[in-house]
Symmetry: C2
Subunit: 179 residues, 2 copies
DNA sequence: AGTATATATGCAAAAAAATGCATTAGTCAA
DNA sequence: TTGACTAATGCATTTTTTTGCATATATACT
């Protein structure tokens, strides 16, 4: 149930915001290591409030629905810090494409090549987005504060991940293309 | 529900076997891109049989429980091939360590460094196992059959994945260590 | 005028996964 | 002879995730 912690971390690092804003944050950057739907996020925020880890304030708006502004509480920060200190295991990997690759000989070579090229493009696109964030937000790595270093490392993980996928796709395409 | 397809692929590529054997196959190699518990695997096999995608034969044994030997059926192969041809999206990533990294400034630097070193070791160990499999099963890459190429690419993905994690851990450790 | 998109949040049901517990019988070591 | 491990399979419960559907107003496009 690290979704809770992902939300807490976002409220801490990027500040208080609404559930709607959190959905956007997840879509934009956090999704490179944690994905969640708006249904999950809204529900989890209500649960977090019950626990006392976040507090909310209703912001009345005209013309559009009211919003709930969520902030992390001192208790929430403590809880997050405590969780960070408990060792965690690598994530479970469940990657459709690798199952497809394992049994890829069942389908025509061109079909697999197409799928691999499609995937390469997806990862190239994500990579470009992340590299742009890196370029804009971390122009000089030498002069980062402690807090910034951690943000930087998160982005770096995303960049490596996408670049690694691209590299594997290239390798696979090259191997399968040689007839 | 690609667990079903992972099971079908394993039965196809490595041959008929029992649920127990599949659990071992998952633990050993498949887990580098699909993880599943024995409870999931046994249940899914029963479901697959209802669908007609696998067939089972009870093997009576003395001294130990009887086993059910599962084989993929022609229908199962067709189904698998059809699934392979439908495009898939990248897996959802949910990585605790990255959430921890994002908010890592909440805890002492040494604690984060310890966790990063622990993680590096986990990935180094997995990497060693996969590289050994690569060395033993794919000594000369130039002379692979079509089917073998796909197996090889699966292993390559695992190797890249683990190596990539190690590289990021190194980068993170280096950045945080410089005081 | 109609369609799509953004803002902002939610309920309900179904599917998938994780967790805990259970059985039977052999081997192997301390 | 107690404890641990391997072989082999399963049930039940809870948690988590996914999917489908719903609502309200505003703005911008076509």
């Amino acid at each position: 149930m690290a979704l809770a912690h992902a939300l807490l971390a976002s409220l801490l690092v990027d500040g208080a915001c609404s559930g709607y804003d959190l959905v956007k944050r997840f879509d934009e950057s956090i999704s490179c290591y944690w994905m969640a739907s708006h249904q999950q996020i809204y529900k989890e925020l209500r649960d977090l409030e019950k626990q006392g880890w976040v507090s909310s304030e209703t912001i009345a708006q005209t013309g559009r629905p009211n919003k709930n502004l969520y902030s992390i509480t001192a208790l929430g920060q403590e809880h997050l810090a405590h969780w960070i200190l408990t060792p965690s295991v690598p994530t479970v990997i469940r990657e459709d494409l690798m199952i497809k690759t394992l049994a890829g000989f069942l389908v025509p070579n061109l079909a697999m090549l197409d799928e691999l090229k499609r995937r390469r493009q997806i990862h190239l696109d994500k990579l470009a987005v992340l590299k742009e964030i890196e370029r804009q937000e971390f122009p000089q790595v030498a002069a980062l504060s402690r807090e910034q270093k951690f943000c930087y490392l998160s982005i770096r993980r995303g960049i490596r991940y996408e670049a690694d996928w691209v590299a594997w796709c290239e390798e696979a395409i090259a191997l399968l293309a040689e007839e």
